[in-house]
Symmetry: C2
Subunit: 300 residues, 2 copies
């Protein structure tokens, strides 16, 4: 088994986790959770999403959240903000985002549902975003990079095409997302092998949901292929607006537990992450999806 | 990735799942669940455990369960019974078990807690069992083959020693168990590589709990190393009596979903397994541990 010495974990609970919670979370609670995540040692935290507040009311306080945590934690952590379009990206950059996750689905149908734009229109918007990015890192996040809830299996060639277009548009980095959490390790391999071969200089980020329990199996597969950057969410929060019942992201604590036990360094404090999950549980009153927050008593 | 064409799944819910439920399950409910599991296509089902009824009252009806399902499903499925000692094995053989899972822990301390015998005493008992086994297959199940809740990490050499002693005692097959569900894929590799190298003719069975969410990651690792036989429990039932809060076995439906999607044949009917999980839920009123029974709506 080929494993790296270090793995980078990008914490996305404040964006992908919170956006799937219907009850509005007070802005100060969001900020308090982000404060605690910074204290865990995360160097990148996806803090919010600059979507239209009518689409996701939970994210209406995006500017306030981002500006506040930027001020409080300058130099300690970088803050990412999701943007589905040019206007969202402009707002994110104005609010001081250190990086933008600009989402384009590899599935045409999913991109239309998610952003009301064709893939070509999204790529054109990304081109404009890259012209105004300044020092902000622009990450192209390819949603439905494996399966689409509407179109089924997405061919690796389709994903390679979107990545090529996104890089040409000026994106700095690429996130590959199993948006609905249905990809198998074989699908991971089928996409990652040609992707890593074509772009050996790029440090891909994987974003995997754990809907069907294959999350860590997919991580192990990706580690073996050379991927070392992953987006996960504390407490396993998250979901898929177009797939009711889908579980959340891989729980950060589950991934950190596994890879720390494997001798891989993350720079993170596992016990503090567990404390954050307890805090999230007490404040949000939602059930944990991940294993370590549910069954953390079994130690060996 | 190296994957096999076929995988054999041994269903252990009626033993490992039920034994961890405190409320006594009516014998007819146990039999009804086993009936439905046979209908799913399982060729091996661990039906019960011949432990002392004072130790696990849930298994007091072992003889009745085993005799009944043997009569009803002769020729359709083989039935396994767990035995922790010679007396239990004698009862299992008398009741007509097609195979016995004879448990010896690789950790001396766990073996004492679990069976009140030293490993040497258990091996001596296994030798006696093998003298009376007749046509019954005797499977040595090595508990705590990776981690022990009392002694921590168990060295692969220790496990290799127990396997060697068990085979010398006359065991036909070997089950390697991550009893508390804390082993990482690296630990899988560290044990399985020397084990498969030393015994290339043996078709090892893996029994993995999913306490920390690493279950399917460990299965993928084991598949890559050449293991093709796994014990899982429908609905993810199970646990570890000496590790409160530990989750159950890998949920059968989670494993079947993953490997069917990977093009691996099992001979099992996935939809029927999901029906069994609904039946278990309605009859036992316990929450599902696995993902597919909790979040089965997300399809692609």
């Amino acid at each position: 088994m080929k494993i790296p010495e270090n793995v980078e974990i990008i914490e996305v609970c404040p964006r992908d986790g919170f956006q799937n919670i219907k009850t509005l979370i007070p802005t100060e609670t969001k900020i308090a959770i982000i404060d605690k995540l910074v204290d865990c040692g995360f160097t990148w935290i996806e803090a919010t999403s600059f979507v239209h507040p009518k689409a996701i009311p939970q994210m209406a306080d995006a500017t306030e959240v981002l500006k506040t945590v930027k001020e409080k934690h300058a130099g300690k952590a970088g803050f990412v903000a999701l943007a589905p379009n040019l206007f969202g990206a402009q707002r994110a950059i104005e609010a001081g985002a250190d990086a933008i996750t600009f989402v384009i689905s590899a599935s045409e149908k999913h991109n239309l549902e998610n952003t009301r734009q064709t893939i070509a229109q999204s790529v054109a918007a990304l081109t404009e975003v890259c012209k105004i990015k300044g020092s902000c890192i622009v990450r192209l996040a390819v949603a439905t990079a494996f399966d689409c809830p509407f179109a089924g299996r997405v061919a690796p060639e389709q994903v390679l095409g979107v990545v090529e277009a996104g890089l040409k548009a000026g994106a700095d980095e690429v996130v590959l997302a199993d948006t609905i959490g249905t990809a198998t390790p074989l699908q991971m391999e089928a996409l990652l092998r040609p992707m890593l071969t074509k772009y050996p200089q790029l440090s891909f980020i994987l974003h995997i949901h754990d809907t069907q329990g294959m999350g860590l199996a997919n991580i192990i597969t990706a580690l073996n292929l050379g991927v070392t950057r992953f987006e996960t969410a504390a407490f396993g929060l998250g979901g898929c607006p177009f797939a009711p019942g889908a579980a959340g992201n891989i729980a950060t604590e589950d991934l950190v537990n596994m890879i720390h036990k494997m001798g891989i360094a993350t720079g993170l404090d596992y016990e503090k992450i567990i404390e954050v999950t307890r805090y999230i549980e007490s404040k949000l009153g939602v059930p944990a999806v991940g294993h370590m927050a549910r069954f953390a008593s079994c130690q060996a």
